[in-house]
């Protein structure tokens, strides 16, 4: 996959690029409006990560241009402004998703994967990981072709694990993915244990032992 990260904060841009460069992805970066505009003219990307407030112009203008050119790339907007108006404007202009700073990279990654699933492989709603199969339309999970019953949160958790496979996920990251703003409601993430343990039990019962504990209190979904 080829990504363009249009973000004027160099540090953030580099962190995103480093993080996403796994899995044989190519990440290119643009630090201002003109650079981003130029790269979008010249090359094709699968996903464009677009900051609204680029130093020399608005990311939204870039988005308009992109849509005019009818390029088939997914666009995810990142913004420091959580206001609903901004979000709606971005989505109206044709962005595929909108994420507010500060965000977790794992969250960004799972949003990218979701956009890719919806776009590029339109029609293919299944995700496979070893013997596990997820049907993202029906929101159901199968191990070795056998359906397993998962709660809504357990399904989301499994999908999040698979899209971020091989990465260390802390409780804070998982909580925010599963509960969004509601994860702020309580200040400890102990409630995560319950859901992860339930999921782990259900998977282990079918012989799929992929949820591993990392560094004591983090989690990692990995095939041995």
């Amino acid at each position: 996959m080829k990504y363009l990260i249009a973000e004027d904060e160099k540090e953030l841009q580099q962190s995103i690029a480093t993080y996403l460069s796994h899995e044989a992805n190519v990440c290119e970066t643009a630090s201002d409006y003109h650079e981003a505009s130029e790269k979008l003219e010249l090359y094709e990307y699968d996903i464009v990560i677009l900051d609204i407030n680029l130093v020399t112009g608005s990311g939204l203008d870039l988005l308009k241009k992109l849509k005019k050119q009818q390029k088939k790339c997914g666009v995810i907007i990142i913004s420091a402004n959580s206001s609903l108006d901004n979000k709606l404007e971005g989505l109206d202009l044709g962005a595929d998703d909108y994420i507010t700073k500060p965000f977790h990279l794992a969250e960004l990654n799972s949003r990218i994967k979701a956009v890719l699933r919806r776009g590029q492989f339109g029609g293919d709603n299944t995700i496979n990981f070893q013997e596990i199969k997820l049907d993202t339309m029906a929101r159901s999970a199968y191990v070795n072709g056998k359906a397993i019953t998962l709660t809504r949160k357990e399904y989301d958790l499994l999908l999040f694990f698979i899209t971020n496979q091989g990465r260390v996920l802390s409780k804070a990251i998982i909580a925010e993915h599963l509960w969004g703003d509601d994860s702020d409601l309580l200040d400890n993430f102990d409630f995560i244990y319950v859901h992860i343990n339930n999921l782990r039990k259900k998977l282990t019962k079918e012989g799929a032992k992929y949820i591993q504990t990392a560094y004591g209190s983090g989690y990692k979904f990995i095939a041995d």
């Binding site: 206001s83 977790h104 794992a106 949160k153 994860s183 409630f191 990392a214």
Partner: protein, 439 residues
């Protein structure tokens, strides 16, 4: 716990929030009328007394002069007619041996004509006329002069009383007119709101002092308004500006997680950092939320069911907490408000109840009549319940609370005119937070 003495009193955004209960205070016009009344009563009493004393002494002098001249007349008559006896009891002459000085006294004498005892002023003295001592007594009725006296004083008092009544009303209406611009502007000031972008508008006055007052008020309010706007803008800007550095920090921690060469201890440190970033982010979000409510950015008001909203909030909580929450909806409440704000309102109340719940007791939510109560167990009442809805006030020493949750509750309630309150039920040891809806 914070230093209580340094806490500012609650910030008043609308002047109308200032309570009108002002004991021991008198209204301006009433005060002016009162002063006028007291002064006029004192003047009336004093001038009445002076008039009384003066007229009385005048009348007494008059009587005495008359008595002396009557005595003279009797003496002159006696010279020609030694056997004169006079007209008893007004004028009398009798022969006597002893000589006496002139004496003036008051005496009571039975007047056969009127068939009653009357008060007379009497002058008596002896006089040698043609070698014979005569005792001459002349009298004048006092009653008559007293009648005149009271007539004069009463007439005077009624005239002055009428004059005062007239002056009182004249003065009152004059004062009302004079202070009119002041009262109009006072009302304007009362309805002035810091939140509105409109400057304070005051009526012009041709009175120099009022004009000066207006100018000072305008200068002051526009300054306060500008400061308030700046402060709000500042909070918002800071919150937004912090998002990017926070995003960088968070991203770096995650890239570190992702590298294989960190150990468990480093992971602990990093995830604790992640947790602190989470707190900053939470603080930011809440400050932005407060600013948004202030800026009237929640305008999607609709008629929502409080019961339904509470049920959804509680359902959400069952996924993230072990604490049991029991909903007891005795009545049905609906309110016209933004759906998102309604969820935030109840989420904050429930979060507060869960965080400060004592032991493993269930939290109960009661919907009754026009209010919702969120009840959690505690050990003792708050030491400063009056500050509980203030920004950044923390009663407990829990380090992980932002101190904004309940002030958001208050802000939302203020925005829609709901009434939040707190009390501690001693016998059952329960904290009770109540929201009264105006339905």
């Amino acid at each position: 716990m914070q230093n209580i003495s340094k806490r500012p009193t609650e910030v008043v955004i609308n002047s109308s929030q200032i309570k009108n209960s002002t004991p021991n205070k008198t209204k301006l016009l009433r005060k002016a009328s009162k002063t006028f009344l007291i002064t006029s009563i004192v003047i009336m009493i004093l001038s009445g007394i002076v008039l009384f004393i003066y007229t009385k002494s005048l009348l007494e002098n008059e009587i005495e002069e008359e008595l002396y001249s009557n005595k003279d007349r009797v003496e002159r008559l006696l010279k020609n007619n030694p056997d004169l006896v006079g007209i008893p009891p007004i004028m009398m002459a009798e022969k006597t041996e002893i000589s006496e000085e002139n004496v003036l006294i008051d005496t009571l004498i039975f007047d056969p004509l009127q068939d009653e005892v009357e008060l007379f002023r009497q002058l008596s003295g002896t006089r040698n006329i043609n070698g014979q001592e005569y005792k001459i007594t002349v009298r004048a009725m006092v009653i008559e002069s007293e009648d005149i006296l009271s007539a004069i004083v009463l007439t005077f008092l009624s005239i002055i009383f009428l004059a005062f009544i007239f002056l009182f009303y004249l003065n009152k209406s004059r004062n009302e007119k004079l202070w009119q611009p002041f009262f109009v502007n006072l009302e304007r000031l009362k309805s002035f709101s810091l939140k509105s972008d409109k400057p304070l508008e005051l009526n012009d006055s041709d009175i120099v002092e009022f004009d000066e007052l207006n100018k000072q008020m305008l200068a002051l309010t526009s300054k306060v308004q500008a400061d308030y706007r700046n402060l709000k803008q500042f909070t918002e800007d800071v919150s937004h500006e912090m998002q990017t550095p926070l995003a960088i920090m968070q991203a770096k921690i995650e890239t570190l997680f992702d590298q294989q060469n960190i150990n468990e201890k480093q992971y602990e440190q990093l995830s604790s950092l992640q947790f602190d970033i989470q707190r900053l982010k939470q603080l930011n979000n809440r400050l932005i939320l407060l600013a948004k409510i202030d800026n009237n950015q929640f305008t999607a008001d609709e008629n929502i069911s409080i019961n339904e909203t509470l049920k959804q909030s509680i359902d959400n909580f069952t996924e993230i907490t072990q604490t049991r929450i029991a909903l007891n909806g005795k009545d049905e409440i609906t309110a016209i408000m933004d759906k998102a704000l309604a969820s935030i309102l109840f989420n904050n109340l429930l979060t507060n109840a869960i965080k400060h719940n004592f032991g493993n007791q269930p939290i109960s939510v009661v919907i009754e009549k026009n209010h919702v109560q969120v009840i959690n167990a505690g050990t003792e009442g708050l030491s400063n319940p009056e500050y509980i809805f203030d920004r950044f006030y923390k009663e407990s020493k829990k380090p992980d609370s932002t101190g904004l949750g309940l002030s958001i509750v208050k802000k939302i309630c203020d925005f829609y005119g709901f009434l939040p309150s707190y009390r501690f039920h001693e016998s059952s040891k329960k904290h009770i937070f109540q929201i009264e809806f105006d339905t």
